[in-house]
Symmetry: C2
Subunit: 393 residues, 2 copies
């Protein structure tokens, strides 16, 4: 038992050190020892092993001006160890080579037409991007993809992606085959991955409980509960866009229901309320309505107030259910929230319980348009961070 226990502890410690360096960036061995509550000789053995595996580098720090032998600085080997990250959004396809430490080393992007793009087309574009991005002088340790719909994590199956018209499409396996790297493709829902990225590297660092709302054409969500993503029994949790906020005479939703949050606050609702449905479209259209309202256009202002009221209802429910420290608005909701902060706040003041209201803060995404891509990269790094030595062997 002791031998097995010791080996398990060592593996956990290797993962913990690599995670610190990956998420926090360069750090001295002495600081690492303090953060992980390990003694210095243990840390030295662990970082030596990670260095030998090509996962970190150890260097003398810049002159500290202090006496004594300085502690070496441990940095992620970003150029030697990387993942491929993909993002299938409604409007665009993105691929990137992301080095350990989370640095985007190279990227490719294409505008995606909104309709009539089947699995083969999408995989064809992404696989070509992916092969372009490979670095023969470094090691690719994983592949992750973000998809704008419901995904079964276990096998990368897109169960339901109404915005692209996909249903039960084996996206992960198809992309893995297209890339031909003998590595699986881990697939996640875009809002789930955006939440993870904001939690690890964005506006939510240090928060154990946060709600991330992601606007695309619809509204997705990712919710961090006690430091972990809420996934639910099948991985289909966090569907904030399909909260029933308007139980009577609600607007029809792509999901087949009526009165869902995304039907009431989505791009289409905003543009119609503002009287600009034929004229404006997409992210730019939402931005234009916010600009019009700022400029005094009464229809645009009224549309935003109406949308903001519904968005407020959704946010109220999320705060009362999750008692989060932070609510983050991402994707196109960054623009929308800037134009609706007042009606959202009004609903919060009226309906959120004081004990939950006293702490919660509202913010826009810090990672902006790269939140979902960054989340896909974290998905791809997960196995390495869990067990560094097995993953690079």
């Amino acid at each position: 038992m002791t031998a097995r226990g010791g080996e398990e502890v060592r593996r956990r410690n290797l993962g913990a050190v690599l995670r610190e360096v990956h998420l926090g960036g360069p750090v001295s061995r002495s600081v690492l020892a303090g953060r992980l509550d390990l003694n210095r000789s243990t840390i030295m053995a662990l970082t030596a092993e990670l260095t030998a595996a090509g996962l970190v580098t150890e260097d003398a720090p810049a002159d500290t001006g202090r006496a004594g032998r300085p502690s070496l600085v441990v940095s992620p080997a970003s150029r030697r160890c990387y993942v491929l990250a993909f993002d299938v959004a409604v409007d665009r396809l993105v691929a990137a080579r992301v080095g350990l430490g989370g640095v985007v080393l190279a990227r490719r992007e294409a505008v995606r037409p909104r309709t009539g793009v089947d699995l083969g087309d999408v995989v064809g574009v992404l696989a070509r991007f992916g092969r372009d991005l490979l670095d023969p002088d470094a090691t690719c340790v994983g592949i992750g993809a973000s998809y704008c719909g419901m995904v079964r994590r276990a096998d990368g199956m897109v169960r339901y992606g109404p915005h692209l018209g996909w249903q039960d499409q084996a996206f992960g396996p198809a992309l893995a085959a297209g890339l031909g790297l003998a590595l699986p493709v881990e697939v996640g829902n875009e809002a789930h991955l955006g939440a993870v990225a904001e939690h690890l590297r964005g506006a939510g660092v240090g928060h154990r409980n946060l709600v991330y709302l992601h606007g695309d054409v619809g509204v997705g969500g990712g919710i961090i509960v006690g430091g972990r993503l809420l996934d639910g029994d099948g991985g289909y949790g966090c569907e904030v866009g399909h909260m029933l906020v308007n139980p009577f005479d609600g607007r029809p939703c792509l999901c087949g229901s009526r009165g869902c949050l995304e039907a009431e606050v989505g791009e289409q609702a905003l543009l119609e309320h503002a009287g600009r449905a034929g004229e404006l479209v997409g992210r730019a259209g939402v931005g234009a309505v916010v600009a019009l309202a700022d400029g005094g256009d009464p229809a645009a202002r009224e549309a935003l107030d109406r949308i903001g009221d519904w968005l407020g209802v959704g946010v109220v429910n999320l705060i009362n259910l999750f008692n989060p420290g932070l609510v983050v608005f991402g994707g196109v909701l960054r623009d929308l929230y800037r134009g609706t902060a007042e009606p959202v706040r009004r609903r919060i003041d009226r309906h959120v319980l004081p004990v939950s209201r006293e702490r919660v803060r509202l913010a826009t995404s810090a990672l902006a348009d790269d939140a979902t891509l960054a989340g896909a990269a974290e998905l791809a790094f997960a196995a390495l961070l869990e067990d560094p030595m097995t993953a690079v062997r």
Copy 2:
């Protein structure tokens, strides 16, 4: 490191063995070894230590009819090791001595008047019950209490208990002082504790994701996410009763808002819709309306349909957000759900996403009126199960 690691592993294993026996009941050492993935000599050492501490007993099994030396059966020492559990509900005060393994060994109960009972009165009754229940021949290892309002776990402070008119009352410390046992009183919200109890011992055994709705005068909730209670930043999560289900012209709620789930489906709404507000009251009143509807009373039937529709809106949102395997109706919602299953199901069919609808099951509480008390007992046992040897020393 190895010594520390080994000691940590041993402590974790002691807790794991005791938890298995506490939650699963008597079990042979060989089955334990299999479940915990430990070898038999390790299990023997662990159970010997727990036996010596008076926490379990080891006995020869009843004749198995099989050849060979049978594996000893390990049982919780329910009569030697117990906790005190308390339940402050709107209508009643309960106290119990609960033995390891979760068996209620003795109990006291009092009807509580609905208004005008201050902290001192409640603590006086409970402390007297608690002292009566002590067993001088056994060891009390913890004290837990369930309270029908919002509670700050860290210090047992009732932050907000509108049904008893309490605000910022130091309930936990007051009860600890009243009992004078030199043990702290762990206090939890009744619906949170009901959820934990159903998860560990009731309808939710084996479910990692479940939603528990608890009806008293209002509606509380406890949500298990990935096997753990959702608590949120301050411990005030799961407030399902204050989801805003009726954003316009909603009924006034005790919290000061309007249109909350508990305002729309609570006891008062039901009795008013049924035209029985002056006449019926409490749990019995809700049961009477359900009986009237079963007997063909049209006002009662209409009231239940109306309430069931709102309850359905709330349940829809919870399923879309949490993708649970199970939704459990507890407290007075057991009666109410029996009378509203059809309108609730209608809302689910119309609004829940198919990927989440395909797995979820709806059920009434298996622990019935003892769910919250059983949860309080688990709260009291938590420290012992975390670290058995420190807790009994």
